[in-house]
């Protein structure tokens, strides 16, 4: 559709995953976003992550709201059903789909406007409900599709192209999520696929709602000097607080280090690409935690800040907000809690997806009705 060249997802033609599928099988339609839009890189990361995880494409369901970001569900996993719903209300639609068919891998994509302005209530309640799904916010600080007004994630002092300065405090989805009970919270940067892919993989394997806030610059409306959501600003202020690597159930857990040779289908977490701002990610400062995920896989978390325990909610909150005060953007898999009950746990939904139950499973029949009628006499 577009006449402008798009960043192409690089993929070795012949490589296949455990299902014998190539990266191509995880792609979607051609993007109609602006050339250079951060969202397209998130798309590429999702393609990569789902391919590596060897998700059966038809078992995924792609859910979104409205916005440039919400369009991205059309650009990956073309063999999956997709639902581009209404603005800000994807969480409820996704909750319904997840409730109806628990065998689906629900992938929700939203924007900062979609999730933090109009959708803040639904996002918070989906988190509280711990809906079994991946929830990515492609966060650019503006409403891209309506031409660049500030969204609720705009930072104080951030400037629009025409000079308007935001004076309201930002809503940080990570802090918000932690305070309403999120069980998996990550943050990353669309420009950092190496960090993003393993977080997505771990998120998909999480039992419950896994929220990833991805800073995803809007090149058209919010990538200039003065913006705090530009590529440059994000690169300059991004501090990886917790390194994460996801190891599927079939692979051995190697405690010996994160970088290089983790062996997950072609995605060695090769070196740390973060600009940081002078902070050393020394081995001394980091502490390793291994969290067993519900599907049997494992996520290894190495926090780069002393005292930061990514399995402790208060600690996570504390360190992320400290980062924020220092003008840094804490990234990584910031918090995991695999012990909390997901929506299906709370609902005690039967293991057969509800959509697969038969009429006989569901209808009590004539005899039961006749018996019941005596109650109404």
């Amino acid at each position: 559709m577009t006449s402008i060249a798009k960043p192409v997802v690089a993929h070795p033609r012949l490589k296949t995953n455990a299902l014998g599928l190539t990266l191509r099988d995880y792609e979607g339609g051609m993007s109609t976003l602006c050339a250079g839009c951060g969202h397209d890189s998130v798309t590429a990361a999702i393609v990569q992550a789902t391919w590596e995880l060897a998700i059966e494409p038809h078992r995924a369901a792609k859910m979104s709201g409205i916005g440039c970001s919400s369009k991205t569900t059309a650009y990956f996993l073309k063999q999956s059903h997709g639902f581009n719903s209404v603005h800000g209300r994807m969480p409820s639609v996704a909750s319904g789909a997840a409730a109806a068919n628990r065998s689906l891998s629900v992938i929700g994509i939203s924007g900062d406007g979609d999730s933090l302005s109009i959708g803040l209530g639904q996002l918070s309640h989906a988190i509280r409900r711990n809906v079994n799904m991946l929830y990515i916010i492609e966060n650019n600080g503006v409403y891209g599709l309506t031409k660049g007004q500030f969204s609720a994630s705009a930072d104080i002092g951030s400037k629009l192209k025409k000079g308007e300065v935001n004076e309201q405090p930002p809503i940080d989805p990570v802090l918000l999520a932690l305070s309403v009970g999120a069980t998996f919270v990550g943050r990353s940067f669309s420009g950092d696929k190496q960090q993003l892919v393993p977080i997505i993989k771990a998120a998909i394997s999480h039992r419950g709602l896994a929220l990833i806030d991805v800073i995803s610059p809007c090149v058209t409306f919010n990538n200039h000097e003065g913006s705090t959501k530009s590529y440059k600003y994000t690169r300059d202020h991004d501090v990886e607080a917790v390194e994460a690597d996801y190891i599927p159930v079939c692979e051995p857990i190697e405690i010996t280090g994160l970088t290089g040779g983790s062996g997950a289908a072609g995605n060695g977490h090769a070196g740390n690409g973060h600009a940081g701002n002078g902070q050393a990610h020394t081995a001394e400062a980091s502490s390793l935690r291994v969290v067993q995920l519900h599907d049997g896989g494992t996520v290894r978390l190495r926090s780069t800040e002393p005292g930061y325990d990514p399995t402790d909610r208060a600690s996570a909150y504390q360190h992320i907000s400290a980062c924020q005060r220092r003008g840094e953007i804490a990234t990584g898999l910031l918090f995991v809690d695999e012990s909390s009950r997901s929506m299906h746990d709370v609902l005690k939904t039967t293991s057969t997806p509800l959509v697969d139950l038969t009429h006989d499973d569901l209808c009590p029949g004539t005899a039961a009705l006749d018996k019941l009628m005596t109650r109404f006499r």
């Binding site: 039967t350 959509v355 209808c363």
Partner: protein, 599 residues
């Protein structure tokens, strides 16, 4: 003056004081005596301490609409004495608590005033404020039993059934009933001229409220996902569904549940959950009222435009805005029929009583699947929350859900290409696939412009093709929804058109008008869109009244828009004060003669 098995009375109390169980006891004991009975609970929108009333009508012929006249009022709430005494019909009775001297507000010429010292008797018999308050209700029920000739054996049985093993409670209730009964016998002329006599007109009936019945319908239809947000008067529907699911759908060993009920954070979310689940292939529903209908508008438009099945129960209440949440009306017809911005139309089913609430609930799920669109079931507070006497609900074990056009993996393999929105059959309904099916089944559903392949489009022709198909689909819907019910009187040239819960009152009015020599045919519309029969009925009557419970004659508007019937061919009879309709309103409007109409 009314007589045996034909009268009505009303009890005025304060809410939160336990009168509900006494009212139930009263209703059910009459019902168990084989006599047709109805009860209307008129309660305030608060929890405790405000006036509340319960109206009971007994009618051997089964005319169980709200009575226009009260033969007796039981006045137990000092704050409404003035209002209550005024409502007794000329020559009727007032029963009050004579523990204190007759309050002067209760004094009235032309009626008989009966006193029983319920309060004092309960103070003497029981201890504790709460117990005394609660049992005062049972005591007046006992007096009513004496006055009206309720079979005490029936009451005893009911008490035993209710309190079963709770011996202390059971004893207290028995005592209270006796106290009231004995006092009435001692102090008053029992029974009254209007009173009960056993008959056998209820044996194949039940007493049930419409929300419970609708919940049963959803259960039997195989609904698995229910999403809701509490709101009066729809709340009890999902509460009943939950209870039924817990009874019939929980694996006794594992505790696993074959249902998912989500109490959402609001109605927008409830609608979204319903639509998401419907898209994923579950039979899903939500139930709401008034404000919820407004909040669901955006999602209704999405489901309409994207062909997603879903069932929306609207238990209507008195609008606009918060309105009178505990009063009944039929005020949301337009808000449902054309819900959402843009060109939209939604099928609606209109149950007339709890029996139909059950059957229409099951039909709604079939219709939603067959038409792939939101289906409203438009009940109301009166149907939804009051106990009605209806025929026992029945189920045919051979009936199976009609899931409409859903392509399986095998179907897909036969196709060169799956085009989600291609109207192959010409009925406007295109076959869908469910997520997870695999093969060629994937498609991308969206509320933005899409073509027959479900691809994004901004092209005029592709857009028009799609919305024209939806219009065709709506015409097709008229062939699937329940047809109107006719009640004809030979030679009538007046037509009475009505809807939903007005039914009983209109049918009663038809009889009363006949007694006055005015012959009428009744047509009760049971669904939107309307069939051609509806048009034919209206056109074949010289005078047509459209009887509905809203201010703006919304049913008439729909008849104009959809059938092209001229406005002036339909005279509205509108009743929108929030009370269930009485036959008198209809009779007076049609006969133009306010006098001499029995209730």
């Amino acid at each position: 003056m009314n007589g045996v098995n034909d009268f009505a009375f009303k009890i005025g109390t304060v809410n939160g004081t336990g009168s509900a169980s006494a009212n139930g006891l009263l209703m059910r004991s009459i019902f168990r005596m084989g006599i047709p009975v109805s009860g209307k609970n008129l309660f305030p929108s608060n929890i405790q301490g405000l006036p509340t009333w319960y109206e009971v009508r007994v009618n051997a012929d089964g005319h169980l609409a709200r009575a226009a006249e009260l033969d007796m009022v039981v006045a137990l709430n000092p704050s409404t004495y003035a209002k209550d005494v005024a409502e007794v019909r000329e020559g009727g009775y007032l029963l009050y608590d004579s523990s204190w001297p007759l309050p002067k507000e209760l004094n009235r010429e032309g009626i008989t005033i009966l006193g029983v010292p319920f309060g004092r008797l309960c103070v003497e018999a029981f201890t504790g404020d709460r117990e005394r308050t609660l049992l005062r209700n049972i005591a007046y029920t006992g007096s009513l039993a004496a006055l009206l000739g309720i079979d005490m054996a029936v009451i005893d049985t009911l008490l035993n059934e209710t309190f079963g093993k709770k011996q202390k409670l059971l004893d207290a209730n028995h005592t209270a009933i006796r106290i009231g009964y004995d006092a009435a016998v001692e102090l008053l002329d029992c029974p009254l001229p209007f009173r009960l006599e056993r008959m056998d007109a209820t044996s194949d009936s039940i007493l049930i409220d419409g929300n419970t019945a609708a919940a049963l319908g959803a259960l039997y239809a195989g609904a698995t996902v229910g999403a809701w947000y509490p709101i009066t008067p729809s709340t009890s529907l999902m509460e009943a569904f939950t209870a039924f699911c817990q009874k019939y759908r929980v694996d006794p060993e594992t505790g696993e549940r074959k249902f998912a009920i989500l109490q959402a954070e609001d109605e927008l979310a409830a609608a979204g959950i319903t639509i998401g689940a419907g898209w994923a292939g579950a039979r899903a529903f939500t139930n709401t009222s008034g404000p919820g209908i407004s909040l669901m508008q955006e999602f209704l438009g999405l489901a309409y435009y994207a062909d997603i099945p879903a069932v929306f129960f609207n238990i209507q209440r008195c609008g606009p805005s918060t309105g009178m949440p505990t009063r009944t009306q039929q005020p949301d017809l337009l808000a449902m029929a054309y819900a959402s911005h843009g060109d939209t139309k939604h099928p609606i089913l209109f149950p007339a009583d709890p029996g139909e609430a059950f059957t229409m609930a099951t039909q709604a799920f079939d219709l939603a699947d067959r038409l792939q669109t939101p289906i409203f079931v438009a009940s109301d507070l009166d149907i939804g929350m009051n106990d009605w006497m209806v025929k026992r609900l029945e189920w045919d074990d051979s009936s199976t859900p009609d899931r409409g056009k859903v392509l399986t993996r095998e179907d897909l393999d036969q196709l060169a290409r799956f085009s989600r929105y291609r109207d192959v059959d010409g009925d406007g309904v295109a076959a869908r696939t469910l997520p997870g099916v695999g093969g060629k089944g994937a498609y991308f559903v969206r509320g933005s412009g899409h073509d027959q392949h479900a691809d994004y489009t901004e092209d005029s022709a592709a857009y028009c093709e799609l919305v024209d198909r939806l219009r065709r689909k709506f015409s097709y819907a008229a062939t699937l929804v329940p047809e109107p019910l006719l009640l004809k009187h030979d030679g009538a040239d007046i037509g009475l058109v009505t809807i939903g819960g007005c039914d009983l009152a209109v049918r009663e009015a038809q009889e009363l008008l006949k007694e006055q020599g005015i012959l009428t045919d009744v047509m009760r519309i049971r669904a939107f869109p309307f069939q051609s029969e509806v048009k034919e009925f209206i056109e074949s009557h010289e005078t047509v009244y459209v009887i509905e419970q809203n201010r703006d004659a919304q049913l008439r508007s729909l008849l104009m828009i959809e059938l092209g019937i001229p406005r002036d061919a339909m005279t509205p009879i509108l009743d929108y004060g929030g009370m269930p309709l009485t036959a008198r309103v209809v009779v007076e409007a049609v006969a133009g003669a306010p006098a001499g109409v029995p209730a």
